[in-house]
Amino acid sequence: MNDDAGTTPIGTRGRAGRGSPGSSPSAAARLLAGKQAATKPATLAKPAKRPPADETSAAPSGRTERARRLHAVTDDDADEAAREATGASGDVPGGIPVDEVLTALAEAARRVLGSDWERRLATMLATVRGRLGGDYSVDEFGLDPQIVEVVASAFEPIAEKWFRLQVRGVENIPADGGALLVANHSGTVPVDGLMTGYAVTKHTDRHLRPLGADLLFSLPFVGQVARKMGATLACADDAERLLRGGELAGVWPEGFKGIGKPFAERYKLQRFGRGGFVSSALRAQVPIVPVSIVGAEEIYPLVGNVPSLARLLGLPYLPITPFFPLLGPLGLVPLPSKWIIEFGEPVRTDAYEPDAAEDPMLLFNVTDQVRETIQQTLYRLLVERGNAFI
């Protein structure tokens, strides 16, 4: 098949992959015909494209170009050649028997789904049918457990192989009851939210409920998927409702200031909002778990911003990374940085009275305590990680 690429443009007058029925068969027909048949039109059709060579080769044989074209491989020739090549199993083109295909499929299913693949396949089909019939339920926030499961398993290779995620301190996530996970935010695109959710789902049996900006929910598709994965709006009402209901809520209090900061300021925490997350945790009397995420800063190094265009599009920033507008869609592939997510020791809030949420000084102090914990952990993890990519 080595001559396929070379001959295609010649035999087809420059049009790839088509061929003309009379003289030069398509690549597919030549494949069918086998090796000898496939080389034939190549040598014959070659002169047609180059007039000087045509004269030299045509003159001794005395044939016209028309005659040579007729001599090219036709469909019948190809069939005959194929029959010769494959021998006894004549009527299967390409020579792969049906039973082998089935065996291979079964083997593939066994490899992908494990030894009880038939039962699992049946379950999967039943699930698909159930979904098509609308037979599933979502909670009042819109979390769809089946979608979460599918996204988590799709995300696993990205997290484990591409980002080589290390998770530490999983024991600091309470096994039951509400808790507020507070993390640093970075990386231009909120991949860190997805990764934290993945880490929580993988290492505990709980779902993380991320609290997102309202921009997330006004975007089509994105907002829809975010809701189905359990995200909800970052406002005091939703946060307290989740926490009182005993859920794990995740906040990224730096917001757009954190995620859209330039690469030069990486791992420098921005202001932690206005401390609203602390008052929510105090009111719901749940612990605050500081989460330090290393690795997100390097996935899309933000080297520039187009504020005017961003304003026009209603976005908080319009990123320029070393690869993004330059390489087009290829620039959207995140760089393979090494990730470490560390869940820190919980800050307990049950020691305070519930009306402590009305004391702004206390809120500022707890906010600073959480922020400082995350900042120090980030420095330590950065030293431990060493090179960002290797």
Binding site: G133, V138, E140, F217
Partner: protein, 327 residues
């Protein structure tokens, strides 16, 4: 002495059924007379209800209340227009409420007002909290159409409450009622062969069973339940889920062009969608009903899924009904 209840808007099936049920209650309930008022005759039998043909947008409603000695007013003449843009709906909803409240303020014997409001008062926008409680106000989407109307109606009722603090006021913010026998906006929408929807959005919706709606209204007429309460079936369904269960295909249309170009297409394919309904099927709305349970003391008997299931069972299966399986 028993009580006299005035029910407005009895030309709708919902209000006339409620008025009849109220009139058919036995003596122990303490209701002497039920007066129904509207400009057009109700479609069905009214039973024991005394029908008065009058326009609540005119001062005549005060005379009716004086003549009949009305002491309880159930205001149900506030409804989301089912079809089209509902040009006259705002006039009827707002001016009718104002006249009715003016009459109530003049009357010395009115001691209770029950307002059949709607969860549309919370609007619908991407900045909404996931679940609305009674203390929330609209964050967006209440600047036009029916949500604006209902916000204004509630504001007038609050003004009335301030001027006549001795009158008990129950505001029931009910979710969309969905029932095969009732011509509601969602019932109308789901009846289409295809369901136009907003591209990229899958809203969470809540429905209310008509029996629960009647029960809550009756309860607030018979007993004193002052306050504002959300009324909705438990749980949520997604629009995509509704469409799949009905077996009707969703036709996602881009939000930008929904108003003009595709609008004609939508009209050709299925019943027209009002801008209010379009907003609702873009962002959805979910309310919290814990106040109804804990303070009002009523547990909705039907969850949102059950309400929808009852509706689905009565509607004719859509073109994709064979695709999935149901329990």
């Amino acid at each position: 002495m028993g009580r006299v209840v005035l029910v407005t808007g009895v030309s709708s099936v919902f209000a006339s059924t409620f008025a009849r049920a109220l009139a058919d209650l036995d003596e122990g309930a303490g209701i002497d007379k039920v007066v129904g008022i509207d400009t057009v005759l109700p479609p069905g039998e009214l039973g024991g209800v005394k029908f008065v043909r009058a326009d609540i947008r005119a001062p005549v409603v005060g005379k009716v209340m004086a003549v009949e000695d009305v002491d309880t007013v159930v205001h149900l003449d506030v409804a989301m227009p089912t079809r089209g843009r509902g040009g006259g709906a705002k006039e009827r909803n707002v001016i009718g409420t104002m006249q009715l409240l003016a009459a109530c303020q003049r009357s010395s014997i009115v001691r209770k007002l029950v307002l059949g409001s709607s969860t549309a008062v919370y609007g619908s926008s991407p900045r909404d909290p996931a679940v609305f409680t009674e203390s929330h106000s609209a964050r967006g989407g209440a600047s036009s159409g029916f949500p604006k109307t209902i916000v204004e109606v509630e504001a007038y009722v609050r003004g009335f409450a301030r001027r006549r603090p001795e009158v008990l006021i129950t505001t029931l913010r009910s979710a969309q009622v969905l029932h095969p026998d009732l011509d509601t906006p969602f019932g109308h929408y789901f009846a289409g062969a295809v369901l136009p929807s907003a591209l990229g959005f899958d809203p969470r919706l809540q429905f209310l069973h008509v029996d629960d709606a009647y029960a809550v209204l009756t309860e607030s007429v018979l007993h004193d339940r002052p306050g504002t309460f959300n009324v909705a079936g438990d749980g949520v369904v997604l629009l995509s889920q509704c469409a799949r269960r009905l077996g009707r295909p969703l036709i996602p249309l881009p939000g930008v062009g929904f108003r003009h170009g595709p609008r004609r297409l939508v009209r050709a394919m299925s019943p027209e969608i009002s801008p209010d309904l379009h907003r609702l099927i873009t962002y959805g709305r979910v309310v919290d009903t814990s106040a109804l349970r804990d303070i009002f003391g009523y547990e909705p008997a039907h969850s949102t899924e059950q309400v929808f299931e009852e509706f689905r069972a009565a509607s004719r299966p859509g073109m994709l009904a064979g695709m999935g399986t149901r329990r």
